[in-house]
Amino acid sequence: MRRVGGNEGSRERQQIGQAPAAKAPAPGSAARAEATPALPNGKPLPSSASDVRQRNAAPKTGADGVAAGVQSIASTLKEVTPALMPMMTTPRRDLQGEITGHLRRVVGRKNQIEATFYPDDRRIKPLVLHPQDAQGIAEGGRIAIQASEGGLQLVTSDTEKVYSIVGRVERDGTGLAVVARDANAPLQRVPLKGGQDSLLGKMVLAHIEEPLSQGRTAELASVFGEKDAWRVKLSEIAVQRGVEATFSKKYSAELEQLKAAFNPDKIDGYVDLTDKPFITIDNPYSMDLDQAMCIEDSKTTPGASDVYYAIADLSYFFKLSGGDAGAIDERARRLQTTTYMPGVDMPVLHRLLSEDLISLGPDVKRPSIIIKYTVGADGKVIGKPEFLDAVIKSQRKTNYGLAQDFIDGKAKVEDPVLVNAFNRLKKVGGALLDQAKARGMITAPEGERWANIDENGELVLERRGQRWIEEANAQISITANSLVGEFLVEHNAPAYHRVHKAPDEARIALAREAVRTLGVDWPDKVTPAEMLAKLDKSMPKYRAVRNLVLRSQPRAIVSADPTSHEGLKLAHYVQVTAPMRRERDARNHAFVRQVRDGQTPDTSRGAEVLEFAAIAQERDSRVEREIRDIISAKALEGFSGKVLKGEITFLSPRGFEVYFPDADIARFVELPGRNRLEANGTVLRSDGGNPITITLGETMDLRVGTVNAMAGRVEVVPLTEGKPVERKGKPQKTGAAQTIGQIRGDGFTSPLVGKRVTTEGVVSGVNAVGFYVESANPEEGGLLVRTRGARVAVGDQVRFTATVRETHDANNEFARSLVELVEATAPERIGEAQLSPPVDLEKLGPPPADAAGATDYWRKLLGRRIAVPKGKAVSPSNRFGDLVVLPDSWKLPADRFSRFGGILHKEGVENFTKVSLKFREQAGRPAPLSVGATLSAIAGIVGYRSGDFQIELTAPPTIDSNPPLTSEVTRLTGDADHYTIASVNMLNINPLEQERAKRLAKRIVDSLKSPDVISVQEIQDNDGPKQSDVVKADQTFEMMARLIKEAGGPEYSYIDVPPQNGKDGGEPGGNIRCGFFYRKDRVSHDPTSVKRLGEGEAAFMDSRKSLVARFKFGNDVFEIINDHWASRRGTTPWNSAHTPPIIGGEEKRNGQALTVRGRMEQVQKAEPNVDVFKVGDSNTTEQSPTIKELTKNGLANLTLELIPREDRFDYNYRGTQQVLCPIVSTAAVFKEGRVEMQYIHANSVSPLDDSDHDHSIMRIKTRKAA
């Protein structure tokens, strides 16, 4: 992680998605509470980012009613209309899903005409949807049904709409309509606006201005001709997958405006390089010419060459057309990439732009951004690049074929401009290519099969990307991208990096072994790149081997994280060379210019662009998959009915890929039935008809049946016979006799794993999934037998046969496994036995103080009954039945205890002196218990769950005492000379949790005494954890403000800056964020100061952004940075065998701390009169390396400085009280003694459920009073 922030006074590194500091938001824009647009009746408008289709406008109801309705829709549906009601929920995605496919399938199959969604709040009318409602929604769109003040609504966003349609023109009443297939809905008929009868029967491409409107109409974009069957087919594929092929009215109007505004003879501020002999080189049919180049002898380094790499200047044109707010920019941003298909493409920009106005065509003046760099004769770049804004005039448009033929001596070229350009390209491109190969760049596989459409409209196959000149030319471009990457990283600037992370050695080892299984040697020291270079196309199993080597590599992605591109072996790689087919390249241009010119990079669209880039990648890959099916079908057309040899190049349980040398094509073939990967990873078998054995790398006979190229379908039948899939029937009723001790092994693993064993023992406990059995020899321990319904009772002596299993924790891969028995036969009762006395932990004493010793201590006890000595609870009990106790006889140093008798965290020292209990229903659950509760007669069986040893209680313990619930009250209250700031983790609060919200509100009023500012974390959006488009949380904030007032508190306003949907981590669908409540009667806030810190930064990816806001109390201005740093998920349990230990999220938190430190130090330096406080949930302790790094330059660690040791905790993690919400401030406020603070203990001590953290509060004396 690079250091962020740098020295004092240096510019804070800005990242994608973050608004420039110089560009203050419009007044009030950040304070959504005050700026939310509203209807005249005061109700908020629907989100402008979404389209809402609503039927059956319902009477207005309160938020409570709606919330209740949403929450219980699912449970009510069947009761209302069991036969009619289709529901589209899946267990984790209530009220959301692929509604379009669902409507088509369910409604169609049932011959129903509509689907009705019933909320059980009868004040809200049901939402009725027809299959036609799926029309206008792009495939793959995540559509939601939302409840709001107006009732239930179907909601979609721009990226989910079908703007373009390909269909046949038919008569529609008195007019015409375009009739088209739809990926989701039944056949569509969209009225064609202004169509003439001459269009009847013709296939057309049309634009739909308002896709979701009931009265939508289509406008003709183009008419397909008789020879355009393939173009129609390919266009259909694209538009059905969400590609937009047409343009809106607003776009067209802007286009006209831009055309009029563009004067190539008057491009101000650009240097004139029109005299330089630039050329473009592309495929012959390319019209969107992104790059032009001019290579000259270097003026400074003898033997070297100066490369002027000119790139079409999209930004220049965007400025002419309204910039970010314009339709041209918006469409390009949304689509991100041009979709290329054989003979057809769907460009990001209108062709007038990409093929004319912006294109670097011959003999026209065009604005460009030039990357000028010098390449030595050895192919190494000399010095630094220059970035110029220049007007150029390309002198020639040429193509790869001609250049390659010239180089190969096959074509005579007399044009001196081309001869010069080709020779220089050969020299420089060739030298760069040699360098790239020498540094270990992974070379692309041989040219792939592709297709084109010929003059007769026929699909003809071709091969692309084979020529040497294309590789050499690509190096000119790759070098430019690499230099841009280095430049931006060197200047600590943001960028859209193309990242290809380093391969994982362990994964390469697997691939290496798989390659060796195919009989091909891949020596240990040979890297994947070297192996690929070594592969010879003529070698047996070449393609299968190549696939395995390539698949050992990670996938390249677009990221804000400046990681290297390992495939190219480049430290940094930022694409800039194709802005007309890849919109983010133009955004990278902007970063280059801004850094070059000393401006602050504008990253305000960052997160949006990254999201659209991911959508575009998925969309284009779907289109490409379909086209590959078509191409392979086309290639196999002439082989219908024949038997071909095929080499198996890839296998999966779903099917296999086969390469047919005779047709020179590969195709994926699905295998029906249930398949399995064989043990050596190379054989697949199917029971879908005849058994088939398919082996990776083998060549086999396959019959090519019916071929339908246009549909992309080919029937391929493997003719090799195989063996049927082995079906394991019922487990054997007998097994080798083994004692429980032999089976149990070391408790975590068993030497008999997987074996069928017959054993005897005494039933020691029964639970919901089976029973515990223990050996007559108590030292052998016991086991859990997972078998439901066994008729056994504690004390039964039983004999049975079962399979030995090592059960893994599905949620924690680093946890230990636990030896258990499964698939048991019905236990035979062979007698009754007296259970041996349990292990007495009183006598045994506490576990050793080291992790290995403690692990061993508990491991030996796994499955054994134990008696836990009388002790005190050191955690509150929770709703899962977990409780941690400290036996009275187990001693700890006095300084390890909190004021409440809980065990305090000690940095770097894990405490093993405690016992975790699990209350099961069978053993009875006691009333909720607080820290300090005393328990006796604790008996249970030792198990292992969620990465910890836990005693499953076999009987209810005796509760000797239970302290009353703790809810401390602060002594820190505000007055004329003091203001107060609290920090409250609201634990995923949302409008569906009214009761808990009331308890939170009451705590704020009663315990925190209504602080002046409340920094809150874990505020969920209006529909809570529902996965939908909803990100607004105004209802959540308003609910809390209202409940605080109802609890007797003052009136609070709030500050919220919503995150991008699903981009900040936390509970899926919840869109948790940090926010502020503040008392308007005591403080004011500066709306322009509000911003999310960390937007677009790698450290904040999939994590909550910190929220920054400034407030004013009297004359004092103070800033709060409200954090909720990355979670600790993925941490290895203390007893894990995994080394080295992993602290989940630590790297991210370190990066987040650096960003926060940068901000605090910046303010401290520039505005010493502004006190800055970092509050919130840091997910790390006050003495962790992360917080030490944060405070190392002098920021004050208030938690450490102001809180006594016995009070220093706000969280209880499995019986350890610790700080996860440390507070840090700028130095002055602490040094001047103006700040006091407290943790208000409640949740870390008592079984309260309003939050899982204690809250904190500070009181700050004003400067004047001090």
């Binding site: 289709p86 362990a506 798989a514």
Partner: protein, 146 residues
Amino acid sequence: MAIVVDPEGLTALRAARAGAIVPDDVHDLLRDAERAKRSGDFEEAERLLQEALLTDPSRAAVWSTVGALEDQLGEVSVAREAYRAALSLEDDDKTALALARLHSSIGEWDDAIAVATHLSLNGRDETTRAMATRLAHEAKARKATS
């Protein structure tokens, strides 16, 4: 009683239930089964999933849910069969990882290595691929010592 997943058993069940009215929305059944499982009512969860299998055996999600439930209940043969059926219908990282873990849990090292290696090299999600890589290596180590 575990869920019937073998083809012959399913055919017989279907025949036995010919004419009976069965719910025909798998979404509902899956959702209800998950709820039953979470609340510890495993029998109800199994009943609902059996209905789902009879209703739409071509859906990978039904099979993977059956696999997860039976895995938890220790019905490893049924779980293994269900996971395999799911993967034959749809490439899914989570199901593949669950199958690899199941193989590993009962000492089917070769199968665990095969499935985990495949997932390591072909999985979509980088985190899952990394987990599969570790699992494959662990299974290799266990195999070597068993």
